[in-house]
Symmetry: C2
Subunit: 233 residues, 2 copies
């Protein structure tokens, strides 16, 4: 099996959740059946929220590039990054490395395309930074899909910050549930969980919503890559 | 904070549990307050059980040495290995690297010494390999402590194998509880959980047992090292 490098720590709990999901995705008889990962659990990557929303703070790009190069040097044959907002810097990471980058944004849009109806409306449950930088917009447009952003962005950002500080709370769960419900009323049935903090509470989506959890999409790609041969990739 | 390298994957769930405990051990306002880790989640390390109990299979030592050197090269300022049995190879890892090795065996014996009574009896809940190679014996003797091994080793090994294959099961929990109860009847009140698979079900120890979970001891050492300055280490 081929080792996959993880640009992690954004936040650290989301990285751990990814690792749990990778373990759960494999039917194992013993340790050796599990997927090898090289994980840079680096919670000191400059805050994407501070940089992109608050307009203060250091540029995360050079740090992410350094992590990616280090993972490749250590033997990672592909790279993955369990943080949606950090995909704003995916181009820099790809330009600085020569192994495949398992792009959570592109893969998730493809999954949403499979599930979306003729109207192509896709709800986005994410940090406001995701809308502000248009992280999903080009990929969605190319797939003939229209993003519908949650209206109460401030509440969602507060929920993300509280999860980063205190783990999943009832308040954060209620906020995400309400946002999902509003999106459903806006006829956005397919809903992208596009923040790995929300992946920690992904079970709270409104009844009737078709969930695409970007973290699950990434897990699937990691397992498939690790099981692939060099000829396939 | 100083990054700590983790020789992981033995098994992968125990490594994830270690990472969860490291997150939980820190009071964080944001991602950046958490401990940086470089994790080699390598479930393909040759089986310690096959090598030490079955007498077949490849030598894990060269693989562990390679992982340790890679982690040091990637910037790890100390190393930790969340697998008790693999500490049989700790000497080889230390000889091949020049950063501190946070020795789970030595640290756990020190903790047991603090808790043990005058009779110095310490129960060991572990893989039979731990007894067979005498992993804890020298350190316990030096601390004036006497190991009391669980009598039904075959049942414990079956439980470890089932946890590695299927995660924590009720049967595995019942086995560990029974072994803890028997140790208590043998007047071994202080009980070392000396297999990271058992750390996954550490809550089942018999009432009255004083638990020393080797994984918790290692977590404490990792957090303390990461917060230390170079002068202190």
């Amino acid at each position: 099996m081929r080792p996959v490098g993880i640009l992690g720590g954004m936040g650290p709990e989301a990285t751990v959740l990814l690792m749990q999901k990778v373990i759960a995705a494999v039917s194992a008889e013993d340790d050796a059946d599990h997927i090898p990962l090289l994980v840079d659990q680096n919670p000191q990557v400059p805050s994407r929220i501070k940089r992109l929303i608050d307009g203060t703070g250091a540029d995360p790009a050079p740090v992410l590039v350094g992590m990616a190069q280090k993972l490749q040097a250590a033997g990672a044959e592909a790279l993955a990054m369990p943080c949606n907002t950090a995909h704003h810097y995916a181009g820099a990471v790809q330009a600085a490395t020569s192994v495949p980058f398992l792009d959570m944004v592109a893969l998730s849009v493809a999954k949403a395309r499979d599930l979306a109806g003729a109207d192509g409306r896709v709800g986005i449950l994410a940090s406001p930074a995701v809308r502000q930088v248009g992280l999903f917009d080009a990929a969605l447009a190319k797939a003939g899909l229209t993003p519908v952003y949650a209206s109460d962005e401030t509440a969602l950002l507060t929920a993300i910050r509280s999860i980063k500080a205190a783990g999943p709370t009832e308040t954060a769960r209620a906020t995400l549930h309400a946002a999902s419900h509003t999106l459903l009323n806006s006829k956005a049935c397919v809903q992208l969980i596009a923040c790995t903090e929300f992946s920690l509470i992904a079970d709270v989506l409104a009844e009737g919503a078709k969930r695409v959890d970007t973290l699950d999409v990434l897990v699937e790609a990691i397992v498939a890559f690790s099981h692939s041969t060099e000829d396939e990739h």
